[in-house]
């Protein structure tokens, strides 16, 4: 591996996805650029419908993009003509939001995890019995990684709690020996006490296996705990991105600011009046010109409705797309 691709595991340029609906085209992801370095955790945050799940589906190849490139370890992914190739998303694995629905209830844990083995993973063993033994040993190895073990092998999903199921889903993803793990709200369906366990597991996996991760979430608390960098999306657009602390401590885009303000703090007495945004209509606005956030922004000017603000990168890779950013004193 050369130094260049050590730095960037995933490189996405101008990625777009347009869904054709009865009301006309709807842009779910609009020309998004992102880079993930080796061993780095990028959090993608935003409200429901901002395109974060679509982005994850594009990265894993569950949906085809309508423009832009995804390069992963110097290889362009999902090129025309390789739709059915077994290797199309090699090295990328995904963990879904709800472990209750992402694991087949009729399969035992050993089969759930072993199903994810790559072709050739058991090639070291010859003969049926040897292969079976190796398969079992390898599943135990992956279960150990997520803090589970042999006693769980022959059980069915209904015998586990939500947190344990999510661990099994992680083991299943790790069994693909990924370099990049996509996590689509992995703790949203879990209790707070269990959420903390999963977040700790994520941190541990990150250091032990130096995995790169895309962590999709709308919980800024978890994000600040696990992520190295944050990308904030709004209606399919990247509105701000940068190192976690820079974005959370010094947000420049008004949407990021609003997201941070909306997080309830567990410290009592910090009841603040929220500078609330105007609610979004149920009809998702399909903004064709101007800033996508102009309709809800507290400091919209005429210019915002006419032209889309460019994405400006400031110091330390902290960038935003806004003409009139939040100044440091405000944040």
């Amino acid at each position: 591996m050369t130094a260049a691709n050590m730095l960037n595991t995933l490189k996405v340029r101008g990625l777009s996805k347009i869904y054709q609906t009865r009301k006309g085209p709807f842009t779910a992801v609009n020309a998004v650029d992102l880079d993930i370095a080796h061993g780095e955790v990028l959090a993608v945050v935003g409200e429901s419908g901002c395109g974060k799940s679509t982005l994850s589906r594009l990265l894993i190849g569950l949906d085809r993009s309508d423009g832009g490139d995804i390069s992963f370890q110097d290889r362009k992914l999902y090129q025309p003509g390789e739709e059915n190739s077994a290797h199309r998303n090699e090295g990328i694995a995904i963990v879904f939001q709800d472990p209750y629905s992402s694991l087949n209830p009729k399969m035992k844990v050993i089969d759930l995890v072993a199903e994810a083995f790559r072709y050739g993973a058991l090639a070291a063993a010859s003969g049926f019995r040897e292969r079976k033994k190796l398969r079992r040993a390898k599943v135990i190895e992956y279960l150990n990684l997520v803090g589970m073990g042999e006693p769980h092998l022959d059980r069915f999903p209904h015998e586990f709690s939500g947190g344990q199921l999510q661990r099994i889903a992680f083991a299943r993803a790790l069994a693909q020996e990924p370099k990049l793990l996509i996590l689509d709200e992995p703790t949203a369906a879990l209790d707070v006490s269990v959420q903390a366990q999963i977040l700790m597991l994520l941190k541990e996996l990150k250091t032990r296996l130096s995995l790169s991760m895309v962590f999709i979430s709308h919980d800024l608390g978890s994000v600040s705990f696990v992520a190295d960098r944050i990308m904030v999306m709004y209606l399919g657009n990247r509105v701000e991105s940068g190192p976690t602390r820079a974005v959370l401590d010094n947000p420049r885009h008004h949407y990021t600011r609003a997201l941070i303000d909306a997080v309830p703090s567990i410290t009592p007495g910090k009841r603040r009046e929220l500078a609330l945004l105007m609610s979004r209509d149920s009809d998702r606005p399909n903004v064709t010109h101007g800033c996508p956030f102009a309709g809800r922004c507290p400091s919209t000017a005429d210019r915002c409705r006419k032209e889309a603000p460019p994405y400006i990168e400031e110091e330390a890779n902290h960038g935003y797309a806004c003409f009139y950013p939040v100044s440091e004193s405000q944040s």
Partner: protein, 325 residues
């Protein structure tokens, strides 16, 4: 302050042939006018069962004992044959997922009208202005348009507002909100919480808020009751409980919440699982997961009171607690 609702010694169990699940054990709580009380705990701690039992919504198979008073009048808690209860007159309940609370085949107007007429407080002739009034009270823009729509035409936040309006149509004094914001994202959550707060402040509506999110509790509630394995293990004024939690479980629960300001490199978590409520629990229910476990924990812990009305169910005295931390 009038006490609108008081529940004492509530027990809920579900007997079946092989075992009996004791979902709620000896819960007492009260709700004053205009007060927002949080019922906090993880899944399976009996929060929802407490609310459902109070509302008389449990199935006939449930065994419910305990006393319940609505504005000083007693109400039987037995689930059999009290469908026209005081609970229905004085309280309304909203559920976790607003998308499943409404019927997708009917317009908002049809559904709200049904509820309004069934409450017996509104006549068919006056129903429309009432609906418009309630919808504007939950800050929905253009209520007349909203009435004509079907649930799928509204966003999650709008639907939750409609569901709150539907609860208000019955002119309740008490609103029980069962995880009203769990299915919504942060900005919408903040809006809904602010709405609940203004309903409590301006109209004297009491809210029993069921949640597992301590952030929600801190930003909204006056008092908090922490539940674990069917019991209330700590209660008190919100600021007291969250500033100086006395029960080890409450402490742990607070430590599991990652702070947006960062700084933490390790998150505490509660290992193990909630005890099986179909087996008898000897002593403290939390002892298996507690890191302050003492030999005495096999005996049932006493309820200790701190001077400012904070109460907790634990063998540790507050002085011992201080030594630990």
């Amino acid at each position: 302050m009038t006490t609108l609702l008081s529940v004492t010694g509530l027990n809920v169990s579900f007997p079946s042939i092989r075992k009996t699940v004791r979902a709620v054990r000896g819960v007492s709580l009260s709700l004053d006018e205009g007060e927002i009380v949080a019922l906090v705990g993880e899944s399976g701690s009996g929060k929802t069962m407490t609310a459902m039992a109070t509302m008389g919504l449990l199935p006939d198979s449930a065994e419910v004992t305990g006393e319940c008073q609505w504005l000083g009048r007693s109400q039987s808690l037995s689930p059999r044959g009290n469908r026209k209860s005081l609970a229905g007159q004085h309280a309304a309940i909203i559920f976790q997922n607003p998308l499943t609370a409404l019927n997708p085949f009917f317009t908002i107007e049809q559904q709200l009208t049904d509820v309004a007429l069934a409450s017996g407080k509104v006549s068919r002739k006056t129903v429309l202005p009432v609906l418009l009034d309630k919808l504007s009270r939950v800050q929905l823009p253009d209520p007349a348009q909203v009435l004509k729509k079907y649930p799928h035409q509204l966003s999650g936040g709008q639907i939750q507002r409609v569901v709150i309006a539907m609860a208000l149509v019955c002119q309740p004094r008490v609103l029980i909100a069962d995880e009203p914001t769990t299915a919504l994202d942060v900005i919408v959550q903040a809006e809904i919480l602010q709405l609940l707060q203004s309903l409590a402040r301006e109209e004297g509506l009491s809210v029993l808020l069921i949640t597992h999110d301590l952030g929600v509790v801190a930003s909204l509630c006056d008092r908090v009751e922490v539940m674990y394995a069917g019991e209330i293990i700590e209660s008190g004024q919100m600021s007291d409980v969250l500033r100086s939690p006395a029960h080890p479980y409450t402490r742990k629960l607070m430590a599991t919440v990652p702070d947006i300001r960062g700084g933490a490199t390790v998150l505490e978590y509660i290992s193990g699982q909630v005890p099986d409520l179909s087996r008898p629990i000897r002593g403290c229910a939390f002892k298996e997961r507690c890191d302050r476990r003492l030999p005495v924990c096999d005996e049932s812990p006493p309820v200790r009171a701190l001077n400012d009305g904070q109460r907790y169910r634990c063998h540790l005295t507050s002085e011992q607690e201080v030594e630990f931390s």
